[in-house]
Amino acid sequence: MPSPQKPPLDPHLKALENEAIYIFREVAAEFEKPVMLYSIGKDSSVLLHLARKAFYPGRIPFPLLHIDTGWKFAEMIALRDAIAAEGDVDVITFTNPRGPAENITPFTHGSALYTDIMKTQALRMALDAGGYDAAFGGARRDEEASRAKERIYSFRTPDHRWDPRNQRPELWSIYNGMIRKGESVRAFPLSNWTEGDIWRYIQAENIPIVPLYFAAERPVVERDGMLIHAEDKRLELLPGEQIRHERIRFRTLGCFPLTGAIHSEAETLDDIIAEIETATVSERQGRAIDRDQAGSMELKKREGYF
């Protein structure tokens, strides 16, 4: 619900908010069946907040789609369910049936194959099943090199492929939403936001986020140079591994076996903002899937990964 009692946003965040609302409204008006991809992370939380603002006093005119790999942090699922329980937006959850059927796990199949089946293919299946012609995502251009060239409206072929050489020029804020049946567009209202903007906006707007972003003492195990949260019973310790209790937090959230924590004392939003402004590593550093090889995000995007 709107809260009239907070101070106005600074002009920088206000400009980003206005731009995002404009994009939301434009897509909602031009496409027949949009959907919003909802990953439960901080960017998704901001995206959801902006969608509510864009359509107020109306309801958000599209559902949220969560691709559930079955390996998300428990606290993420709790926030998702709380959002769904508020009742002002429809939340759809989809899991690739191959996962449970063939017992595909990030441990047994490796991060690349697991990500392909449970995220990339799952997303394509869910988008096809829903017949969606536009999908909102929370990607930001500052996240990763191949995203720096992404359009606001990113054009996808009927098999969801992204061809970097075949994207439409985007001049001014005039977006071309004309597509053929089967083709689709991924729309990115947060394109021009940086990680710092996201956090300052969460603070200014008091947006609920998963508590794992805040530092606390948590059980961890060190694996392949990453700190893995060792709360889920399905995490089996390898020889030589030990559970330690350390003060950690997460800069990004994904599947718990593939997401590395950082040591941190940042317990509040102020602490987090101060921490990232002096950070010497980028936020995607904790993501195992980016590290396979140079250009690996580009390869995944061509295949249809978000």
């Binding site: 006093p57 005039i174 402004e277």
Partner: protein, 491 residues
């Protein structure tokens, strides 16, 4: 090579709140002028490159050599694998960095002739253009072309980066000659705000840090200092405009029009007009998620509630009743052709401007010849050419001139066959066209000459709005009018 992982000192930390939106600028120039290297250097020296990115930078740098013990900065911006393999930039890359003073969005645009469309894309949203030239090569046709496009698209602040000055013996004479030549060209484009800077992006001289050691003769600003002081293009000053994006109707009791204010300001009680219908109404409320507001200004995304039931749809524009945009079926524009097939005269394209999409045909008058820098007669526009055209609509179109308002004066053309965006355009104004007045060429028409203040009252009236498409309004001087009426001879 070692990567500095030192945290930024507290004094350099970005501020918690910012007093303006980010400055948007683009970098452009010819192939090999070192654009990507320059942006890489900006990011590196403002400590915007994180350690893990630097690590993959040095890992990916293996096999490329720049002769210095430095990372290949171009790898920071050349994000796509195809580009890395070919060693070129094939698409616009957006980069973000900030200093204690402000934040920046950089559009890195390619220099190849066939990618002029990307340059136009970057220029369309930019406040400032950084043009690179190789000090050894001087100004090239490509450089001047990019300057022309940037100026045509409304950029009035230029930085001329005379790069690779280290390879030209740090010669003051060479720098000053190129700078003078460019200033003269910029003036011919109507651009006065030119800052010329001698620099070596590779060595980091006059980018973020000064280059006094090698260039004691230069006492002007570095690139970063120039960017920190540049002005953000401010909201346009014509009357209130809000293109309607969608109608919000959650229940029978509420009907609001959602859109972003594209010019001027609005408050409850203001008289507005719905275009193209010409229906007048008053604003009763401005609704946002946060609160019911008592005013909104250019840039604000709002929901407008009117005091009466009127027919309003997506694509309509709500505007000040006493400072309306132009409406009509014929407009003159400057067009940049972006697609391989060019622009075909007589073909029915889709035109999208703000939230409005409608059918249009294009009549071409002239095109820029880059060799002679003249407008030559032309009846079609090949890819990457810029032309002066007349747009013919089937239904009423609504525009301001691009000069008066970027948001309501810009448009794109979409090919109905491929759905591709094939051109970007800027409205100059309503076409002068008397052919729509009356029924036939021998029909009597009446010329009415009025003092401007009387004409303004008449034009502002509801009656005039209802017949706007059937009349032609021109401004002229009394002397010229006297010549037209042949007053002298009848005396």
């Amino acid at each position: 090579m070692t990567v500095s992982t030192a945290a930024k000192p507290a004094s350099e930390a970005a501020p918690q709140t910012r007093q303006s939106r980010p400055l948007r600028f683009l970098t452009c120039g010819s192939v090999d002028d070192g654009k990507s290297t320059l942006i890489g250097r900006l990011l590196w020296d403002t400590k915007s490159v994180k350690a893990d990115q630097a690590e993959s930078l040095t890992r990916d740098s293996k096999g490329t050599r720049n002769g210095l013990d430095l990372p290949d900065f171009a790898l920071l911006t050349d994000g796509l694998q195809a580009e890395r393999e070919q060693g070129i930039t094939i698409d616009v890359a957006y980069r973000y960095f900030s200093t204690a003073k402000r934040s920046f969005i950089v559009a890195d645009t390619p220099g190849h002739v066939q990618y002029t469309r990307n340059m136009a894309t970057g220029a369309s949203t930019a406040d400032l253009a950084v043009l690179l030239v190789d000090a050894r090569a001087g100004l090239l046709e490509q450089t001047l072309r990019h300057a022309s496009i940037a100026a045509l698209m409304g950029i009035h602040q230029f930085v001329l980066a005379v790069n690779k000055i280290d390879l030209a013996s740090y010669s003051r004479e060479i720098f000053e000659q190129i700078a003078a030549e460019f200033r003269e060209y910029a003036l011919s484009l109507g651009v006065r705000a030119v800052t010329a800077i001698p620099m070596s992006a590779l060595k980091g001289e006059n980018v973020v840090h000064d280059g006094k050691a090698e260039m004691p003769w230069y006492d002007g600003p570095t690139l970063l200092e120039t960017l920190e002081l540049a002005t953000v293009r401010s909201a346009q000053t014509v009357g209130f405009r809000m293109p309607v994006q969608r109608v919000c109707r959650p229940d029978e009791s509420f009907r609001g029009y959602q859109g972003t204010v594209a010019g001027g300001a609005v408050k409850p009680g203001d008289s507005v007009v719905i275009l193209p219908s010409g229906t007048p109404a008053n604003v009763s409320k401005i609704v946002t998620y946060d609160l019911v507001r008592n005013a909104a200004v250019a840039g604000d995304a709002i929901t407008l509630v009117l005091d009466r039931q009127v027919d309003v749809a997506r694509g309509d524009m709500i505007a000040s009743i006493d400072a309306r945009p132009a409406t009509g079926l014929h407009f003159d524009a400057t067009l940049i052709s972006l697609a391989q097939d060019g622009i075909t005269p007589g073909k029915r394209y889709w035109l999208k401007s703000a939230s409005r999409r409608q059918r249009v045909t294009v009549e071409t008058f002239s095109a820029i010849d880059w060799k002679t820098r003249r407008w030559n007669e032309a009846d079609a526009l090949a890819v990457n050419t810029i032309g002066k055209v007349r747009l013919h609509f089937e239904e009423t179109a609504i525009f301001d001139s691009y000069e008066a308002n970027r948001d309501t004066g810009a448009f794109i053309l979409i090919d109905p066959d491929t759905h591709n965006t094939v051109a970007g355009g800027m409205i100059q104004g309503r076409a002068s066209d008397v052919s729509r007045i009356g029924k036939g060429s021998n029909e009597r028409v009446v010329l009415l000459a009025l003092p401007p203040e009387v004409a303004e009252k008449l034009i502002g009236s509801d009656f005039f709005a209802s017949i706007r498409d059937d009349v032609e309004v021109r401004q002229t001087t009394r002397d010229q009018l006297a010549g037209l009426f042949d007053d002298g001879k009848e005396d």
